[in-house]
């Protein structure tokens, strides 16, 4: 029986995860790594063993981009489709690969060997164009590298035997400050201060969350510490999905121990025994390194039982599977619980009702790192760095039109112009700060500061040279939001799709002033009616580009009058083909005659 084949690889996975349904995401990921996709018989087996209905497993699997319910080939290739990848020529490289491998984008090859498609930004913008093969990253794509990948695929070389230089990922640290320079941190010394002292130093430091929203870290930890309940959780949000952001990837590469130590500190302060790091699926290649770091820390007695006195703490790593929405903290918690990543209704907030409905702190990778700095050097020292309302430093992920893309750490308050000079931006006309959901900063605003009181950011800093079309930038971002909308609420599910279609209509040269007005109205509905931040910010790039780069829209409002929603003449193509007609009456003029 086929089922035996599936039970053979599924049984050890289930055993590893204790046949626990809240580990469904990890079970599905490992199952797919064994079989290439989630076979219906495998789902049968999982339903039985986990006591879950099929609707639940299929519901979860179909939510995440990286789970497949149908065969996608032995090699599943996904090109990163961020605007920065496109600016570096990803579309031509993708076309080249499809042509070489004789297949159509998005479809499995006829020999069922390989599929090639696009995916949202994979966090390699400083070394793009990039792709994932079976979720492992390959950067610096060129025609030659694409050709060698095609050759490896055609010769069916197992992924483990592909040349390791293909999978090399650079750190590209260009500017280091307190966080990236800090070498030694004594966790034990920090813990000896006691939870109250750590918390009061944290308060003194004015440290704010680095995920973008900027909530005071001490307040969050304190609220969780004071929340009713016996079990608490520490969650590190490493679901770095905002296009253009990759600083957590570098922190996890070079400073993983410090990230975990920050989590341990938090666990110590709030009274938690368990931490979880939610790693985005695109960073699958980091999993081994992170697991090893954890193992080393356990051996050094920094994790496990009785780390200090009776303080026990350990950390698990959970992988995401391609869903930007899971960067939203309540969606991330749902995903950790083995569910679809739908943002929860808030309030209540995670500090009181988080993982398994228990008090939970969710912080960004960089926040945990910064917390170790505060614990080591004191809150006052930290608060004196940066600006009044934004203490400390911020790590920026710089990409786009510049000579030195990579990681830049600055004290808060640095101006956009300074960063542009340091990265040697090439005649910049705009910078997208904090990704598609952030702010499009135009030339006239380059003296604005990176700080919570001016331009808050999660870290993305994408530079656009004067040749770039800012309408196309906004359109790429709108496509991103439509693709990543979780689909839970009406305004975001339908609204982002309508917005995408209207932006495409303008792009295709069929736009009118009427469509432009429709875009503006949709923005209003998305902002006021959406369930979560994704919907609220999905129109930001459009609103910003309209306000700051209006001519890019004007030149696309080609028609004064109302224009049809679809290409009328194209709509007759099927009939022309079937009848063999091509006379004048077999065509329709595009616009109003």
């Amino acid at each position: 029986m086929r089922t035996d084949h599936h039970s053979a690889y599924l049984s050890p996975i289930l055993e590893k995860y204790g046949e626990n349904a809240s580990n469904l995401m990890q079970i599905l990921r490992e199952a797919q790594e064994c079989h290439g996709y989630l076979h219906p018989d495998a789902i049968d087996f999982l339903c039985e063993k986990l006591g879950l209905p099929r609707t639940k497993i299929v519901g979860v699997a179909s939510f995440y981009s990286f789970f497949y319910l149908e065969p996608r080939g032995q090699y599943r290739i996904l090109f990163s489709d961020n605007i920065t990848d496109r600016m570096m020529g990803s579309e031509l490289l993708l076309a080249r690969m499809c042509k070489t491998l004789w297949l159509e984008k998005g479809k499995l090859s006829e020999d069922a060997l390989v599929s090639v498609d696009t995916t949202s930004c994979t966090g390699m913008c400083d070394q793009g164009p990039a792709l994932l093969v079976n979720n492992f990253a390959i950067t610096h794509l060129t025609e030659a590298r694409v050709d060698s990948i095609c050759a490896l695929v055609r010769e069916q070389v197992p992924l483990e035997e592909w040349p390791s230089e293909l999978f090399e990922v650079k750190d590209n640290i260009r500017r280091s400050d307190i966080l990236l320079l800090e070498e030694d941190f004594s966790l034990r010394a920090a813990l000896r201060q006691g939870p109250e002292a750590i918390l009061s130093e944290l308060k003194l430091s004015n440290l704010r969350g680095r995920g973008g929203a900027g909530f005071a870290t001490a307040l969050k930890w304190e609220a969780c510490r004071n929340a009713a309940g016996s079990e608490r959780y520490v969650i590190c949000n490493a679901d770095e999905g905002e296009p253009g952001t990759f600083k957590d990837r570098v922190l996890l590469t070079l400073h993983a121990k410090k990230v975990f130590e920050g989590m341990i500190l938090c666990g110590f302060v709030i009274g938690s025994k368990k931490g979880m790091l939610y790693l985005r699926g695109e960073y699958r290649y980091l999993l081994g390194h992170l697991e090893k770091t954890l193992q080393d820390m356990r051996q050094a007695h920094l994790l496990g039982n009785a780390i200090l006195g009776d303080f026990d703490f350990d950390i698990e790593i959970h992988m995401g599977a391609g869903a930007y929405i899971c960067g939203e903290e309540s969606a991330l918690i749902e995903s950790l619980e083995g569910k679809r990543g739908t943002p929860r209704n808030r309030p209540p907030f995670p500090v009181t009702n988080g993982y398994l409905d228990r008090p939970t702190v969710v912080n960004n990778v960089e926040t945990f790192c910064a917390a170790t700095l505060v614990a080591a050097h004191g809150g006052k020292w930290y608060s004196e760095i940066g600006t009044q309302k934004s203490s400390g430093t911020k790590i920026l992920s710089v990409s786009g039109d510049c000579e030195r893309p990579g990681i830049y750490e600055y004290p808060f308050g640095v101006t956009v112009r300074e960063v542009l000079q340091d990265c040697r931006a090439i005649s910049p006309q705009a910078v997208q700060v904090s990704g598609p959901s952030g702010v499009m900063v135009a030339q006239a605003e380059f003296d604005r500061k990176i700080a919570f009181e001016d331009i808050p950011t999660a870290g993305a800093f994408m530079v656009f040279g004067k040749e770039r079309d800012m309408f196309e930038v906004a359109r790429n971002f709108v496509h991103f939001f439509a693709h990543e909308s979780c689909g839970f609420c009406t305004p975001c599910r339908v609204g982002t799709a309508l917005l995408r279609n209207l932006m495409d209509k303008l792009h295709n040269g069929h736009g009118s002033a009427y469509d432009f007005e429709e875009i503006r109205k949709l923005n209003g509905i998305l902002q006021s009616m959406s369930h979560c931040g994704l919907g609220h910010s999905a129109c930001n790039p459009v609103l910003d580009s309209i306000a700051k780069f209006r001519p890019a829209y004007e030149k696309r409002m080609l028609h004064h009058e109302f224009t049809p929603a679809f290409d009328l003449d194209q709509a007759l193509q099927a009939a022309r083909q079937m009848t063999g007609r091509d006379d004048r009456a077999a065509h329709l003029a595009k616009g109003e005659q």
Binding site: T55, S62, N345, G487, T490, V494, S528, M529, H531
Partner: protein, 237 residues
């Protein structure tokens, strides 16, 4: 002493733990909604019940009422946005009222009437969603699904069956049933299930019963959605 909040200028009493919508409906005040049902836990996905709480938008079905909060609902701005959401639902699926067995008994249609909708405004998506006629007694017409998840909740929370579930993401979100074949006939769905009777639109349909009630005598021929909600609250199920 009962606590109250202000809804469009008048006081509405509430008990601790009640949402704005629950308290408002109990007080005979209508706020348009589709995914809310008094017998199920609040869900908050359709967003039609969005109100302004102290100046900021919130779904009234999930926001707990608190003493003294100022809630606006019947404003031109909010009703225009509710209309837009209703129109989005109409273009997202294939809603052809004249050929729908549920016409006249459909809450989406009745809500659209309430909001004065004369057309769907947006460009239609015309999705391709095949029917499931496999079950001897029921038909599933996914063309009309608005993803309110009432059937999902009813089957899971009341019938303890999980016959229905949501799959996919974004615009690809869709309703699925609990069988390997993907067909309703291969599930343990039955006419006595609560889930068989909660669909607010025309997805879950009893076979051989279409168009039995003549035009003029159907639910929303006789009452508005507001009156219907009032009577439903009084019903003992």
């Amino acid at each position: 002493m009962t606590e109250t909040f202000r809804l469009d200028g008048t006081d509405v009493p509430f008990e601790a733990g009640e949402t704005i919508l629950q308290a408002a409906l109990k007080a005979g005040r209508f706020i348009p909604h589709l995914c809310h049902h008094p017998e199920f836990r609040p869900h908050g996905s359709c967003k039609l019940c969005t109100v302004k709480v102290d100046g900021r938008q919130a779904a009234s079905c999930t926001r707990l009422a608190t003493s003294g909060m100022k809630v606006e609902s019947e404003t031109e701005e909010l009703n225009a946005e509710r209309l837009a959401l209703t129109q989005m639902l109409f273009v997202e699926g294939n809603h052809f009222c004249p050929s729908c067995e549920k016409s006249g008994d459909c809450q989406l249609q009745a809500t659209a009437y309430h909001l004065g909708m004369t057309n769907a405004h947006y460009d239609h998506f015309f999705p391709n969603r095949p029917l499931d006629a496999s079950h001897p007694d029921f038909l599933l017409d996914f063309n009309r699904c608005i993803l309110c998840s009432l059937c999902v909740r009813a089957s899971r929370d009341i019938d303890n069956k999980n016959v229905f579930g949501l799959a996919g993401r974004g615009m690809a979100s869709h309703l699925i049933v609990n069988s390997k074949s993907g067909k309703l006939v291969d599930t343990d769905f039955s006419v006595s299930d609560k889930a068989a009777h909660v669909c607010p639109v025309g997805v879950i349909l009893r076979k051989r019963q279409g168009f039995f009630i003549p035009i003029g005598s159907r639910t929303f021929d006789k009452k508005t959605i507001k009156e219907y909600v009032d009577t439903r609250l009084g019903e003992e199920d």
